[in-house]
């Protein structure tokens, strides 16, 4: 029993719990070919966090979100959202979704669009008319609210899509490339909106291939490649595996010293008094420091070098591609 309780407590904690989801698309009418879009994906997202799902084109990010929103049926596996099985109609009242490349009926105005989709969400007309104006202000489309959508630019559509996703004050928000086509100022605004949502206790599930952006706002990320989760964790967790350090010395090291250190590290760069090195194992750092002290070098500082998510990402995908 306690184990069961623990299990349910865990489910309660995680707002989105994805367990062993797989999806293969079969295409071709006569010669069937299977595309494995997702294989055995398990991810949990806790309440109040911004979770970034990263991956190159075709990794399966969109497919994963579509499965959670029951737009696509999984081949196997399950997921729960807010403790309820995905695909239940009730759960969709508490979710917001900004699909990739969304298209709205072009003959509607921005305001009408929000009313239209808000009604489908089950919201009252009265509530919607004020909510729509408020959200259009939030996403910076106030002046465009009575303009037909067909006159909108890509970034404006994206902003409208975000407003649409926020109509029902969702507890969980799924955003598929929310800043696609949005200008830098708009991106900053969207990031601020997302941070605001996080402080209000909402959970955000963000798909993106814009690493710097995800790095800035996500609490945790998962890296997906060819349908497989390669890595999950906080940005710091993920990137600290790189074992890169920067050592500043009081005096320039001699060539033999550098050779000794070089033998212990994966890579070594020197820039006058600064050594930048990547190690094979954490223990090697102590060995290197010992060598430096024995050689009478004075150590001014040792700092783990936080490799940027991008470096990590590219390395990870590359090593997967040609191991």
């Amino acid at each position: 029993m306690p184990i069961l309780f623990g299990y349910f407590a865990h489910l309660q904690m995680s707002t989105v719990a994805i367990s062993h989801l797989s999806k293969s698309f079969s295409s071709g009418l006569f010669r069937k070919s299977n595309i494995q879009a997702l294989s055995d994906v398990s991810i949990t997202v806790s309440k109040g966090e911004i979770f970034g799902l990263l991956g190159p084109n075709g990794a399966g990010k969109t497919t994963l979100v579509k499965i959670l929103l029951s737009v696509v049926h999984p081949t196997s596996g399950t997921a729960t959202i807010l403790g309820q099985p995905m695909g239940s109609t009730g759960i969709r009242e508490r979710i917001g979704y900004l699909p990739e490349n969304h298209r709205y009926p072009s003959f509607l105005t921005a305001h009408q669009t929000l009313l239209h989709f808000g009604r489908l969400q089950g919201l009252s007309k009265h509530f919607l008319s004020s909510k729509a104006s408020e959200l259009l202000r939030v996403v910076g489309l106030e002046e465009w609210s009575r303009v037909k959508i067909k006159k909108f630019s890509k970034g404006m559509l994206q902003r409208l899509g975000l407003a649409q996703a926020l109509l029902n004050d969702p507890e969980v928000l799924f955003l598929d490339e929310p800043t696609d086509g949005v200008d830098p100022v708009g991106r900053k605004e969207i990031r601020d909106i997302l941070k605001g949502l996080r402080s209000a206790g909402k959970t955000v599930f963000l798909n993106s291939h814009l690493l710097s952006e995800v790095e800035e706002i996500s609490d945790r990320v998962a890296i997906l490649n060819k349908g497989e989760v390669l890595s999950v964790g906080t940005i710091r967790d993920i990137t600290s595996h790189a074992l890169e350090y920067e050592i500043r010395l009081g005096i320039a090291p001699s060539e033999p010293v550098l050779q000794k250190i070089g033998a212990l590290s994966r890579s070594l760069e020197t820039n006058q008094l600064t050594l930048t090195l990547a190690l094979h194992a954490k223990e090697d750092l102590n060995k290197i420091l010992q060598i430096l002290l024995q050689e009478g070098m004075s150590i001014e500082s040792v700092m783990p070098r936080k490799s940027r998510l991008e470096d990590f990402f590219i390395n990870l995908i590359r090593t997967r591609e040609n191991p």
């Binding site: 579509k66 737009v71 109609t89 979704y97 298209r103 003959f107 509607l108 239209h116 969400q121 089950g122």
Partner: protein, 285 residues
Amino acid sequence: MKALSLSLLTIREAILKGTLLFYFIVGNLIILFFAAAVSGSMESGTLTITMFGSQLTPRGLEGFNPVEFLLRQLFQSASSAIMLFGIFATAGLIPSMLEKGTVELYLSKPLSRSSLLLARSFGACGGIGANILYFAVGIWAVFGIKTGIWHGNFLLASVVAIFIFLCYYSVVALTAVITRSTAFSIMIAFVFTLFSSALEVRQTTLYVWWENAFFHRFLDSLYYATPRISRMIDQAANLVGKDITTRVLAEQASAGFDILPFVYSFLSASLLYALAIVYFFRQDY
């Protein structure tokens, strides 16, 4: 509630797209035409109707009712036209919901796929239905005012016409869900119309193509599995007035109202809608 608002929004989409509005205008013009053309007068207990001044002759038939006759003619031609033009106006409504980028939005709303599809279909039929009713009431009123005969059955037949359209639309709904294409849906609906009239008289036409019992049963099953549009229109027209031509040909053939085509069509349309829903449920978007 959500499904109802989707239906209403669908009607609005059809109006905003322009075609329904166009039909509304055409409908008004036809009503105006009859208002200008028709006038009636009572002379020694018999009603005579004139269209632009020329009198409708009773062709020597006993009990000839010119209003019934005119309205039946009008009903028969208008309802066939409305079926075809109605498909033009509404065939795009399901494919537009299924467009990439839009379908995700609809599917992620708290509505089941069956309500989405049915709400969309009923919305489409509702738009056409509103047009039909408006037109019918207009014509009915024109004749009522001009001739003093308020022919209630004409209104009844118009309501029946809405039902017929709903059955017809099941063909569009199924094609649209499978092909996601407006053009295909219209094409299949028209091919279906041709084919269904051929099936109607299969004993004398299609049967002779291949004298094979299996083939004949296959044609029979197709006939029973699909809605019978023209049969139903004929029956609804019988509600409006007697079929003069049949009466001339065979004096006995009193044109009654036969409910069976409606029952069969209702069942087969339900089957087509159900197939569309099943297909929709299974799809990934």
